[in-house]
Symmetry: D3
Subunit: 336 residues, 6 copies
């Protein structure tokens, strides 16, 4: 008996039916035997935090549609997420397109109503500002751990700007704000994929001062940079500690994700991106798969109006799947 | 207390939330006080009946998304459909992309399970072959009236071909089949919008022999053609008789509906198309509004992969709205 | 000697060079002999006021590019705008994407610095919220006339909502706010092109209470509606009074302007839209051309990410041209 | 036995097979019983004559593809072109993208080799410069009539510029050059569809001096302009005289033909364009159909890279069909 | 004297002329001196076998157009295919869009009529179901070898599903059916590029039971997986045995091939795909080039309506070229 | 005090303002303290030299727009180009679309008027033919060095064809012409990225005879090819010698640069392309950064009509940035 019941594709082909994330049931429709729900996925159709090109408010809708093609079994990890995890689509958070901070509060409040106490929160953006809200809710739900949560951050940008355009709560600042609020532990934050050009040489100062573990994309590509060892060390130290994962789709090259608001030339390929996520499931390359004890997650910055044949939304759907695989591996290993 | 409860746009903006047709509630979620449901809208994601370009199987999904912007009050008719009609989205019919006739049977069976005995069936295609199935279900549900149902057919093509490519059940043939099956009364069928080029001069023979009332687009545009008077006469004769309405999106010019499989150059503008539908709500131009006693309907042939900025799906959403306005006018006038 | 010096197309073809509106000179580069400048065109790259689809912040950039193909002589009006008017591109207003009301104040302040005291202000949006700012600046610059300015408003929507999503200053409200602020005289406001569907029957109440002269698109198309006579009466009464013109590109059908944020199905064709503008240059159809004493203007709601082959931006460029023709006719007739 | 043998759509559906214009046979494959060929259609993949946006060199290829959906029977004219005319695709003319005048000579030479002495030449562009070459070949083939050929010219632009960018042979000049060369009789030239804006008031001088019969689009739309009577008079005077027809796709609005190089806002709808062509088949509105004695023709300025869902190429295909209908009507009436 | 005569690009540039595959001559036009033809390429415009997104019926047309830019000399292999092989375009097979198995039979029958007894068959799809038909014809033409043909299969999917949607003959099943029919030897089948997610862990069972040599994309990328050695062993064992090659364009990442019906995120780059094909021309990396004794081939699943700037069709054209290079190398080495 | 003053993004966000290359000041607006200007960037909106698909005349406009997002600090090189170099946008060169050689002369003349004697010339195309003109101007400005300039050429094609379509000055020939004219030293020319297919085996003969150092893309990818050592040797030998850099955007795969006229399947990824440019700043991999003494440069062949979401133009903008980084590194190291 699967933990997540998916529609029968013989009756409802993947091009048919009302779209929920990955064809997961609506949260209200999850039967008692699949309670408590392991992950509640919810949309945050919000883009008032962007500094350049808006439109990510349509991200949840596009990802719901593209994710109809996601199947539950990972060939690469040899695990079926629907067998291991109870998964549900909780709909979209209320938002106001005219109020940044108020919306973040609303989103966090909404998230805390979802599922049961142990249900983990998976936000689908929307712009990266919403990561603050989902991290806040995750931190609250899981006992407000002192020092904040560890974070794995995959992105072309650090998102630790203080103020931009007079505003503190944009998509350039979520992790600075989360550190200030105590949700996020900067010394247990691993940020992978940063690349140039930047505005000034000082753009990395905050990260360095806070002790954030930054692996640039150039370092990640360069076997002689020591990046691989640093990732190994981070994961080894992380062990069973619950960790939050935030994934900005602009970490891949615009060829793979044209549908995003601040595209960054010279990024990961999709294969590299999926490979990176899969690699996080092992303490180091070649180690046995153990997954990750993911306590909360988000995938952000999909902008459908710039997308091409839906490939960005489809990639985001696969990222959701791969993140859930890491959680499923962890749970299947009886780690939690 | 409205008959159809729509989401509060202050909490769930039109770019947010899981998409149902026009934001109507899911059929299962309609509260008892709004039972019986007046119209059940359902998708038929099926395009195996096309003779040229496939892809209309994605039509229901695209129309659900585009129709989020439909509001309930018609300025032109001065009527609020949500005040008058209980409306619901019944999801998509099961279909098989590999079996034409079997799918039509499945669709008709599915439709007959929807709502209450008096619930009227509104199919959203999918290709035009599915009109046969929804007409069949409508005919059954409403007592299998001898002689078949009256039909208002808006289309660039007559769709009365006998056999094409060896197949009887394609989108070129639904009305011929419906006449043969007794669901449709050809002498009470009004077909508006046909245009050339055709394969041969004999393509209209069947329609003429059966007594179908054909108004070509050229006649419709020509005040001297007598078309207007023929439409008046049809509507006058129709009176309170329940009528089925079938609308093929390719009746408008490809500039207005690029997203369709057999586009027909030189068609209606969108304004003309909406004007035509509104005009059907009066016995003749200038008469008082009475609406139409619509017993079943379909909107078909939206092909999202050829669409541009979603304008075809948005137009189809407005067509659904205008058809429902005609039904709401009728009901509000206590005609039914 | 022309009043506006345009680049020599033999040296700089229309696909070459840095783009300014219609190839007009930068304001700072207008030579003394062409001072004072008659119209300063400026961009307002702002879309934080939208209720649905954002992206109009890229409107000024796209219109600058598309307008390279605008030539100065109107065949239809037999007037060369560059011979009559001194025209300049004043660049873009400063804005903050995170602050609605503050940005409107900033825009109005910026506009008041442009050109000379008699220079008229032509804003290129951006979303419709910015009309408030340009009307405010126009009203100030021209002596704060008591009772407010007359307005010709061409749009699919009335834009007189009070509050939406908790916000007073969105693109749904500029004319309500302008009436409240005394910039705009509702009894001398002509609004052409409104169409349904609307949220409720009460959406028109404010306009009716204020005495706004509303011509729906359906009325405009219907010779028996009396709309033409009402427009004649408005223009006759207007006479030489300075008037503000605001043009929302969504008044045309999405086939002609797919690149907009709240497209409205069943609208004007481009030919009808240009015809409407040209008709405003005569007291009534068939009268001699006199133009309009346009004291300020805006063209708004171009959203390039949804555009197709640049046709929406090109249409907006032609609207700018036609509005300037009306002003040129007025000036050439020695009316001002 | 038809004069033109088309593929059996039951064996080769319209999405199958190697593309020729309208599925006509290759010229070399026309059987003896269908000799002499009435019209040889050939492509001229040439765009070195454009002043703005190039790419029409891909026009013939795109029109071949789109025209697969053209069927032979005109509902509106009640004539089947394949029954009356022997039609063939003669392939593409050799051209050099680096040599304007030389290419025009090459095209004319190529055209003169096609079919039999009585075969009429139908060029598919390519930019409008190529009209000169096809007119030249037509004039030669048909005995170099003194005074030149009559011409019906449908276009947003007059194309009678003398020199642009230092060049005499661009797409802005073909009719000036043809008049100078004696192929074209300006006093029997009817030009329909011109619209503004233009560079200067003098752009029409040449046409006026030469006595060209110019009907602007604004005049065409205005029942009080006398344009209809002027067209009647032209056609009445034309009678049985052989006439050349040149059709620039940019005469329709960019909503209907986005795929063109110098789009002109506020143009014909597709329905109006087809209606205009059909109307040319009657001496005046309401007269019996007689067709036109078309001695040569071209359809030009399709630019596929700007097209949307192929609607411009499909429209061009229908224009070809409608022009051939006029010729078929003429021939069927035993006029030739 | 070349074996394949290509058009002179000085007379017919690559953007000119009627499109055949890679500008090869039509089969009927191959001169006697180039008989027998080595490879007959033919289109199969068929997509009734798809389980998700249809439209590949337009694949042959799009590939013909894109392949106009293919030149005959391989820099990487130092071989000119037109010097070595006689190549021809045989047009499209008849098909019925309404009949799966019947169409496969028709295609196989058609293929067997092409060229001479030794002519090898190269099918261009169309969906992957058509591989069954071309393999069947290949097997017949070459003596119905007992045990079936060896196969190199490049794909993101195994295509060995038994039944889907009640149908045995879809694009999910061609190789299962071919094994059952005896055309294909599963123990000599190498399948490269499979990736997840899949429906269940059992999706690979059939392949494993039959002894198919499966190299997943993850294995292919991982130097430690042993995949390279397995490929070497397969090729070494293959030696001079005739082999069939089937290439599904969805093996590359959607960034490189957006135009396909079941895109698979995280796939090959185009450079990797071409590199893989070139590597098959050597017994192992670093060995001398010998090519492959290719007895039949297909390239499938190009869906033009989802393509972007024609890059998918262009890639498919290059795949055709690279497959022909392998055959040319083999022939040039006097292996056959 | 920076050498290049960029707009304050808090006042003029990156989506606002009139577009210049990378937001650099117009050349005329560079203040005295930033004189002399180090690099003048100018557009060459010219594509009459193409052999296949035209449209690169719109390249400078598109790159100006996309480059608004370029920031001045290179994380990878740890250098801020605006601190080191005075950079300016000099507008577009005059051109004639109807005259190849004359335009090249005009461009060279125009370039020589820009900035001061030491200002280096950076041309933004336009097609590759314009490299000849900018090389000529560079050679003149810097003293007409005997033997010609060294060249680093990054491209999928060699561009050393003699004559094509009867023309000597197309985009297929600039380096052959530059060698003949003495501007370019073939023995100090490094060409990276060439790939097949080619027309004939002799296409490389000229390069080989002239001693051009050709590194094919296949060699570049193959660690065993010796390509890396050859590049090292070239750079070591180059040392402080001024060098010209020419970059054809078609060197990357069409997935990364769909917007180009002769796309070449199987090319560099964007990350590889930027990595290659960065690697040129070190004498060899692992050496300290020294940059390059770049005396002139161009980036060419961006064709916006085929682009997708602006990714090709954005990539070209980054290429400009990376080339300027190399020059900044060189200057910062006091090498010049």
């Amino acid at each position: 008996m699967p933990r997540t019941i998916l529609p029968d594709a013989r009756v409802t082909p993947r091009f048919a039916g009302i779209c929920t994330f990955c064809r997961f049931p609506l949260l209200d429709a999850v039967p008692p035997e699949n309670r408590p729900v392991d992950f509640a996925l919810y949309g945050v159709p919000f883009d008032a935090g962007v500094t350049f090109r808006p439109g990510a408010r349509f991200g949840p809708r596009a990802i719901r549609e593209a994710s109809q093609y996601i199947k539950p079994y990972s060939l690469e990890h040899d695990i079926n997420i629907a067998d291991v995890l109870s998964l549900a689509d909780a709909g979209d958070s209320p938002i106001s397109p005219f109020a940044l901070k108020e919306t973040l509060d609303t989103v966090a409040d909404f998230a805390l109503t979802l599922g049961e106490d142990t249900t983990r929160l998976f936000a689908v953006g929307g712009d990266h500002s919403i990561a603050y809200a989902n991290m806040q809710a995750t931190w609250f739900r899981h006992g407000q751990p002192a020092g904040g949560l560890p974070l794995i951050h995959v992105d072309s940008h650090l998102d630790t700007v203080d103020i931009t355009g007079g505003e503190k709560w944009t998509h350039a600042s979520p992790f600075r704000r989360a550190i200030e609020s105590g949700f996020l532990n900067p010394r247990r934050m691993l940020s992978i994929g940063v690349k140039g050009p930047l505005n000034t040489a000082r753009d990395l100062d905050f990260a360095r001062e806070q002790g954030i573990n930054v692996v640039t994309y150039e370092q990640w590509r360069d076997p002689s940079s020591g990046a691989s060892g640093r990732i190994d060390a981070f994961l080894e130290q992380l062990g069973a500690t619950p960790v939050y994962v935030t994934f900005d789709i602009d970490m891949v090259d615009p060829a793979f994700a044209p549908g995003t608001g601040t595209p960054s030339i010279g990024g990961f390929t999709s294969a590299e991106a999926l490979g990176l996520l899969r690699r996080l499931g092992r303490a180091k390359t070649g180690s046995p798969r153990r997954g990750l004890n993911i306590i909360g997650a988000d995938v952000v910055e999909v902008l459908p109006d710039r997308d091409v044949a839906g490939i960005t939304s489809l990639l985001a759907s696969h990222v959701i799947f791969e993140v859930l695989c890491l959680a499923a591996l962890w749970k299947a290993g009886s780690h939690s």
